[in-house]
């Protein structure tokens, strides 16, 4: 899936600081493997760029974004509208609906309901549409970075 020799490589960029293994972040008992050996065909940085450009990753990313962006826009707008209406239009919110229950009570309980529903929908979407593809990409990427670091795992 990721052909290795299709891009020119700058020898000076072969040294790659992997920030997840940076010396500053101490408390991490193991030895740092920050330098890619010169003999290695490519660096970890190249691997990540390559994976990022792969069709499989772009699919996972767009599935995530296509769900999350509209969902965040909708629930934030709904919440802000609720708060603004409650503080600036108490007359509208006080309108009775059934018995003691008024518009405000329905809107408030509606916030609880939409939160639960969106949580369920997101968890389901992630489980069915993203998890498997992401896991495959994870193993592929880790395998490629392991090779790129000269086989030191």
């Amino acid at each position: 899936m990721y052909s290795s020799d299709d891009r020119p490589r700058d020898a000076s960029s072969a040294r790659y600081d992997d920030p997840w293994y940076d010396a500053l972040a101490s408390g991490w008992g193991e030895a740092d493997v920050t330098d890619a050996p010169d003999a290695a065909p490519r660096t970890a940085a190249d691997v990540y760029l390559e994976v990022q450009r792969s069709a499989a990753f772009q699919e996972v990313r767009s599935r995530y974004r296509r769900f999350v962006v509209p969902a965040v826009a909708v629930f934030l707008a709904w919440y802000v509208a609720y708060v603004v209406a409650a503080t600036t239009a108490p007359g509208l919110m006080a309108r009775p609906v059934v018995g003691a229950v008024n518009v405000a009570m329905l809107a408030g309980l509606g916030q609880f309901l939409t939160t639960f529903l969106l949580t369920w929908a997101y968890a389901r979407h992630a489980r069915l549409r993203r998890d498997r593809a992401a896991l495959e990409l994870r193993w592929d990427t880790q395998e490629l970075t392991r090779v790129a670091k000269g086989g030191a795992s």
């Binding site: 997840w20 972040a25 408390g27 940085a45 994976v51 503080t87 639960f116 992401a134």
Partner: protein, 530 residues
């Protein structure tokens, strides 16, 4: 409140403290002392366990007693306040939890520092995280002092001071001996107790009204003296335009701040994968949502059964509404049932405070040791074990929190929780979202985003009516009030985002494409996650 309550409540406090200390000793019995163990509890908690622990970290005594008290006194406006605390979790679930789990190791700064220059970013985020934690911690400590004095009817001053010292000492012991593993188990125990107590009281309230929620509302409205206005917004947050903007500001801070609270973010590292982090948030949302729904019943129940006059007479802020409700539901002041229920509620509130302060202390000691100490120590100096530094930091934070808690114990510090959320939303969230989602983000952008949110938030509070210029301020005698709102979120959150953007576009540094690729690939796939 008679002596029976006190004895029984103290006994139950004692039992809870004994249980938690046993857990701490048991857990630290064969600890290996690694950072993985101390900060993340070995990363092998199950989603359900972590979900309970997240709920335990989040549901403070302010929620249990404060929100139901607000509802008992002001009706609908208390409910309005609680909604923000729940909706906030959607931001955490959708934008933060999985990605942060995949990219970071122990703290928020790990995620951002991975694609920027480490030192300035760690110093900035370490500072803002410790600020958030200390604000939250002081609010909890002072709350604990007032609460225990109130529930036990002790001799005021002395009881309050000793409670602050005792709570501080206990939290330091939990954290520095037991680390994340002990803290997590304490959260789980506390969550179960709190939810159990809330379910029991809710059932008793509903039984009293034969399951008729409508009649509960009507009775509450009638007894409140406000009639139907009690069931609609406006009694607390609708007085004038300042009050309205103040609440909108608070609402924004609540919704956006949760995703920037360091002690919440660090909980995601206690599970093995991003998928487990997601499932723990789903658990947490279920538990927290259920809890807030029950506080609505308890709040209106207290208004209907105890009555707002009695509640206000006992404590002006309404914090005793639930204990008084428990007393009544159990059969009244001189009955065994009433005594037992009252003592149970008092003990649960105490357990809640202890668990919350332990969680905050742990995450701020991580910020100090993992971010600040690691960046600020002299390069030549012999590196110490990070966990040892973190343990010392926990003691230091405990001492600071006790000192501030004692100094502030007579002050009205209820605004501190809203302020902690506002600082988290202004200083921590913009930088986190930019570094996860923006390709061209740079080091300067990150540093500016943090300080651009932190400084305005703190300055605006200093210039606000909570500090000076009104009879309820910290310093009522002086007047340097120039900002009308109590909560700075409405201004400081946009400033944090704008500062991050401005810092990035004016930065000479070329954005590093490879590091962005790495962050993006790691965050969405979990490649290389620890």
């Amino acid at each position: 409140m008679t002596g029976d309550h006190q004895t029984l409540a103290l006994l139950l406090f004692g039992v809870f403290v004994a249980i938690t200390l046993t857990i701490t000793t048991w857990v630290s019995r064969n600890r290996r002392g690694s950072a993985e163990e101390f900060y993340a509890g070995g990363r092998l908690f199950s989603p359900m366990e972590n979900g309970f622990a997240i709920a335990g970290d989040y549901m403070s005594a302010a929620s249990f007693l404060g929100i139901s008290g607000l509802i008992a006194l002001f009706g609908y406006d208390g409910l309005l306040y609680s909604v923000g605390f729940l909706v906030a979790w959607l931001v955490v679930l959708l934008l933060v939890a999985e990605l942060v789990r995949n990219c970071g190791r122990f703290t928020l700064a790990d995620v951002v520092a991975a694609r920027t220059r480490e030192r300035p970013v760690r110093i900035a985020l370490g500072t803002s995280s410790v600020t958030v934690s200390v604000l939250y911690l002081v609010a909890q400590m002072v709350g604990a002092g007032t609460l225990v004095a109130l529930l036990l009817g002790g001799e005021g001053e002395a009881t309050q001071a000793w409670t602050v010292i005792g709570v501080g000492a206990l939290m330091v012991i939990y954290v520095s001996w037991g680390g994340m593993r002990a803290t997590t188990w304490i959260q789980i125990v506390k969550s179960v107790l709190l939810l159990g107590g809330t379910v029991a009281l809710t059932v008793l309230v509903l039984v009293r009204f034969h399951g008729d929620f409508d009649r509960l509302l009507l009775t509450a409205a009638e007894r409140s003296g406000h009639g139907n206005a009690f069931l609609a917004p406006g009694l607390k947050y609708g007085a004038d335009w300042t009050a309205r903007f103040d609440f909108i500001s608070l609402g924004l801070a609540l919704v956006l701040g949760t995703a920037g609270l360091p002690h919440i973010l660090s909980r995601f590292y206690t599970v093995p994968t991003a998928r487990a982090a997601r499932r723990s948030v789903v658990w947490a949302i279920g538990l927290i949502g259920g809890f807030y729904l029950m506080t609505i019943v308890l709040g209106f129940g207290a208004a209907a059964i105890v009555g707002p006059e009695t509640v206000r007479g006992s404590n002006a802020a309404g914090n005793t509404a639930v204990p008084l409700l428990a007393l009544d539901l159990g059969g009244g002041a001189n009955s065994t049932g009433g005594t037992v229920l009252f003592a149970v509620v008092a003990a649960i509130a105490f357990a809640t405070i202890l668990a919350v302060v332990a969680g905050i202390t742990l995450s701020s000691s991580a910020s100090v040791a993992h971010d600040l100490y690691a960046s600020l120590r002299r390069r030549r100096a012999k590196p110490r074990s990070e966990v040892a530094v973190a343990r010392v930091a926990a003691v230091g934070i405990g001492v600071v929190a006790i000192a501030l808690g004692l100094l502030a114990r007579d002050l009205n510090v209820a605004f501190l929780v809203g302020l902690a959320f506002a600082v988290a939303a202004s200083a921590n969230l913009p930088v986190l979202l930019y570094s996860l989602f923006w390709r061209d983000f740079t080091t300067r952008g990150a540093v500016w985003a943090v300080y651009g949110g932190l400084v305005p938030a703190v300055v605006l509070v200093v210039l606000s009516p909570v500090v000076s210029g009104s009879p309820e301020s910290l310093f009522p005698g002086v007047d340097f009030q120039y900002f009308p709102l109590q909560n700075p979120g409405l201004v400081s959150i946009p400033l944090g985002f704008v500062a991050g953007w401005l810092g990035t576009v004016t930065s000479a540094e070329m954005p590093d494409e490879a590091k962005h690729a790495e962050t993006e690939v790691r965050s969405l796939t979990g490649a290389g996650a620890v």
